[in-house]
Amino acid sequence: MLSQLIDISYLVAVVLFVLGIKYMGHPDSARKGNLMAAGGMALAVLATFFTPGLNNIGLSIAGIAIGSVVGWLMSNRIKMTDMPQMVSFFNGMGGAAAALIAIAEVYGIYHGSDIGMATLMLNPNSTFYFYFAALLVSLVVGGVSFTGSIIAMGKLQGFVSGKSVRWPMQKLTNNGLLVVIAALSVLFFFLGEGNEMVIYIILALSLLFGVLFVMPIGGADMPVVISLLNSFTGLTAATTGLLFDNKVMLMGGVLVGSAGFLLTVLMCKAMNRSLTAVLLGAFNSGTGAASDREIDTTYREINLSDASILLAYARKVVIIPGYGLAVAQAQHVVHELEKLLEAKGVEVKYGIHPVAGRMPGHMNVLLAESDVSYDKLIEMEKINDEFPQTDVVVVIGANDVVNPAAELDPASPIYGMPILQADRAQNIIVIKRSMSAGYAGIENELFYNPKTRMLFGDAKSALSSLVEAVKAL
């Protein structure tokens, strides 16, 4: 009776997971979807505690209490700009948990009182292979997901170099390491009762591989990496489900694994890059091929009063926000500027590049935080048609997403990436700290366009001064 009730609860939980993800796909129902998924999780956890013969329930509850408090505090204190790091961190914790479960299993088998598995090892049958194959996948993928996520987080947070870090024979060492891990996994099955030590070596190598796998990938590609590692963690949840013959983990894990992988592919598409190119860290390698296009590198500055007049007497202004705006916490000031200009009869819209910010859709979240109205955020395809009728484009802390080289220069590493065609507007004002290159490390000829004026300064202070100047008109 009890075990049937548990099974039914698990079934309901899986249905809630699927509906939750589905509802999360629409702006109106997204929050409800998230709550449904969370409800499903709570139900599944609660049901698990009624598993017959479950030991150490008190300790488990204590662990959940600690994790809940810490997780809740972290998620409420994090700044929205640092959100990608947070997601990466949480994902790493999931991966670590999967790896720990696998180790605890191994330790239990070799040092515990459960003799079932020990006898099975002497007479290996298909169940034995099935079980250890799942265990090894949990261990390897969980380990990679853990260290990989932590390095990805470090690259975004800045405690690990955001550049593509390379070393001699990097591809060879990485692929070699994978081969060694695979070979050791096969070896394990041939070692009679299996060998406990081999498992620990596999774990250590997997942790190392997670680091080496993410290091060569540039910081700009971290969202793709995080999304991929997220789908890895889903996979480990599924294999852990196989270990315990637990359907809710299995189904939940497979759902996250496949959904996460599709999301990864969608993100790559938005940047017009292949997943392989991202994983090989190919972003920066292209810069070696010098472009034969000559750029006239004279640029023109604009002062505050000219900029404010240009904006206030425009009919239509499009603001292109980039990560620089988010770092400077300038979302609120930009909203203030928007309101001021609207009061003067200017039509203001935002042109949002799919990968503006540090994750797809990240910029929408940041602008939503400062109460910018939803219908003012225009997607790239739509806003590109409007640029020829736009009087002024204001580029704030964005760089690569407005670089015409993506359309014009086949030698450029970002060639082929869809961009916001800001250069088709009548006037362009670029707010930027200096003339330095963007995240991808390439020159942007938009800045040297005769229609472009540079307004140097930190996004927030430059915008605040601009707001004052417009007010003073």
């Binding site: 993800i21 999360m24 796909g25 629409h26 702006p27 109106d28 929050r31 998230n34 998924a37 969370a38 999780m41 598993t51 030991n55 150490n56 300790l59 488990s60 662990g63 959940i64 809940s68 810490v70 809740w72 972290m74 998620s75 409420n76 959100m83 990608p84 947070m86 949480f90 994902n91 914790m93 999931g94 948990a97 720990l100 479960i101 605890a104 299993e105 330790y107 239990g108 515990g112 298909s126 099935f130 995080i226 999304s227 997220n230 963690t233 315990f244 637990n246 809710v248 983990m249 939940g252 759902l255 996250v256 694994g257 496949s258 959904a259 996460g260 797809p360 859709g361 929408n364 939503a368």
Partner: protein, 103 residues
């Protein structure tokens, strides 16, 4: 090889379910507007914390005097909970912002 084939026929039902689940995962997410990619990624990240069930189960079959296994299991419970609670909470915070500005 025999083992592998035996494995497949023994678990045929399971394999069917898995294949279908992959399609569900792909279908459910393929129509999502770009605006929601970040919250969705965060939300599905929280879901991958479902390994929390595994951590409770591994604790549940550990002997009370097997201290190392207990410590490993306990750490797994804490980290998986971090993933679940932190993940859902941060997603809710993000989505809350979308809702507010609709008014």
């Amino acid at each position: 090889m025999e083992n592998l084939l035996a494995l497949i026929s023994e678990n045929l039902q399971l394999i069917y379910v898995l294949v279908l689940a992959v399609f569900v995962g792909v279908e459910v997410i393929s129509k999502v507007p770009q605006v929601l990619h970040t919250p969705l990624m965060s939300g599905s990240n929280a879901l991958s914390g479902v390994v929390i069930i595994g951590s409770i189960l591994v604790m549940g079959k550990t002997d009370a005097d097997n201290y190392l296994a207990l410590a490993l299991g306990f750490l797994a419970v804490v980290l998986a909970t971090l993933n679940v609670v932190g993940g859902f909470a941060v997603t809710d915070r993000m989505l809350d912002m979308f809702r507010k500005k609709k008014k």
